[in-house]
């Protein structure tokens, strides 16, 4: 199975939609129930394979289940039915700079964030220079991160996450931040990833980005997989459904 990086196998994920949610003991005791709810299917029997070494895009309109699927891939949500199998180490970048402590210096936060993302102290020390170099905040590394500009904050967070060095990288729309130069740096990093035979799975609303980066895509619509396969044809079908003519 070396040619498949991730297998998404009949994954179904539902959420409870609460009409009345009582997170208090009083109502639980007084009425003998905590909530009235119905299930909402965010993902309905989705199956596809992500080939190893590919850059795989997830596309679809808002509320189509992309983020839910991404969270399932990242082991944050667990599917109700079906299974996700990954072959290799997986790391997710759903948000950059998670767990940063505002009062601590950039340096301390690199170690803290690195360990939250699953890196050992040794790994972080070894890659420290690379992280700082990539982030371009060298001058401010001993300042508390609360004084960072939002761009610096994101760049540092991204630099740590990208250096986790997984076999499979799951990326949410984090690239929308940072200036053009930094975005180009990130894209270059993804290309390096691909060249090293690693897999990137990303979510984006920007079709030009997906077109430029991905060779495979899956199109989700209201939790149902509409199409999966080569990027070009999937994107075309998606755009067609939106009544937007592809370029």
């Amino acid at each position: 199975m070396s040619d498949i990086a991730v297998r998404v196998d009949h994954v179904t994920k539902s959420f409870r939609m609460y009409h009345e949610r009582n997170q208090s003991l009083k109502s639980a005791i007084m009425r003998g129930r905590t909530s009235i709810h119905e299930d909402f299917l965010a993902l309905d029997d989705v199956s596809f394979d992500v080939p190893a070494g590919s850059t795989f895009g997830l596309i679809g309109s808002n509320g189509s289940g992309k983020s839910t699927l991404l969270k399932c891939l990242a082991n944050i949500y667990y599917p109700n039915k079906g299974a996700i199998t990954h072959f290799g180490k997986i790391a997710a970048m759903l948000e950059v700079g998670s767990g940063f402590h505002a009062e601590l210096s950039g340096r301390d936060n690199v170690f803290l964030n690195g360990s939250i993302l699953g890196m050992s102290r040794k790994d972080v020390t070894r890659k420290f220079d690379e992280i700082i170099d990539f982030s371009g905040v060298e001058q401010f590394i001993d300042q508390p991160v609360k004084n960072y500009s939002s761009g610096m904050y994101v760049r540092l967070g991204f630099a740590i996450a990208i250096n986790v060095d997984p076999d499979i990288l799951v990326v949410d729309e984090v690239l929308a931040v940072g200036d053009a130069e930094f975005q180009e740096k990130c894209f270059q990093k993804f290309r390096d990833f691909k060249a090293a035979g690693k897999t990137v799975i990303l979510v984006s609303h920007s079709m030009p980005t997906v077109q430029a980066m991905c060779d495979q895509t899956a199109w989700l619509d209201h939790g149902v997989l509409k199409a999966a396969g080569p990027a070009k044809s999937t994107i075309k079908a998606y755009l067609k459904s939106l009544n937007v003519e592809p370029d």
Binding site: Q23, A28, I76, L94, S98, L104, S115
Partner: protein, 278 residues
């Protein structure tokens, strides 16, 4: 077993989170770490004035240490209590406070409540060290008991961790928990022989006798409180300078193991649901 392995492999993350709490807490304060001693000192002053002078609770002198200083006697029970209550109340909020992290990154969630235990334990070690020095100056011979004090601290930390795990999960589903908890902790403080000696309860209980014609006495119910036994351990080691009854050790050990295993069991069962429930 597999779960324990997973928890163990997150120890580095645990260490980093503890150091985040410890270092981040007193940033930009003039007195820094000294603030952690301020709270127990203030409590000591208040209680010493009220229960040492106005309504003297007259604890017996340390046996065989011969110490007879109310403030020191009080601290031997108060410091373990403030540690316990700090762990439980901050542990209870640990998951809700880190909701964002839980929803964005996959890691062993149990390190969050555990890290509050670590951060509180760090402060507690200073407090106990200061107390031991004060006892030595007052004439107690506590030095040879230090290893056993450390064992007792470890047992209480495990017990507190277990209780904190349970409340952290409860707080995710019922946010009332944290408010209820402050009240519960108030009651719990006064139901533990910290500011009055346990002999008072024993005497009163003997006076009243069996409740409602049964052989069950007040003190039997009172002894269900695990903190009664933990406080007894610390008092006998630090204030009396003697070896506590092995039965007392056993009771504390059982409470610690039971609380921690039950806490971990419940935590593990709910761990996967946290990202959605928060």
């Amino acid at each position: 077993m597999k779960y324990l392995n997973e928890v163990w492999s997150s120890r580095e993350l645990l260490f980093n989170l503890v150091s985040r709490d410890v270092r981040g807490k007193y940033k930009r304060t003039v007195f820094g770490q000294l603030w952690s001693l301020a709270n127990p000192l203030a409590l000591m002053l208040i209680y010493s004035l009220v229960f040492g002078v106005f309504f003297p609770s007259n604890p017996r002198a340390g046996d065989p240490s011969g110490l007879n200083v109310f403030a020191l006697w009080l601290l031997c029970g108060l410091l373990p209590w403030t540690f316990f209550s700090a762990v439980v109340s901050s542990g209870a909020g640990s998951l809700v406070d880190n909701a964002n992290l839980i929803q964005k990154v996959s890691f062993s969630r149990i390190v969050l409540p555990f890290s509050t235990v670590g951060a509180a334990a760090y402060n507690w070690m200073f407090e106990i060290a200061v107390l031991l020095i004060a006892i030595t100056i007052a004439g107690g011979f506590v030095l040879p008991w230090i290893p056993l004090v450390i064992v007792a601290m470890a047992l209480l930390a495990l017990f507190a961790a277990g209780v904190a795990l349970l409340f952290s999960i409860a707080n995710v589903y019922f946010r009332d928990t944290q408010y209820l908890l402050t009240i519960v902790l108030q009651f719990w403080l006064y139901l533990t022989p910290i500011i009055y000696p346990i002999e008072r309860v024993a005497n009163k209980s003997a006076e009243i006798g069996g409740l409602g014609g049964t052989p069950v006495r007040i003190v039997d119910i009172y002894n269900f409180n695990p903190m009664v036994h933990f406080v007894a351990l610390f008092r006998e080691l630090i204030y009396d300078n003697r070896f506590p009854d092995p039965l007392e050790w056993l009771i504390c050990l059982i409470w610690a193991v039971a609380a921690l295993s039950f806490g971990m069991l419940v935590f593990r069962k709910n761990e996967r649901n946290l990202a959605e429930a928060l």
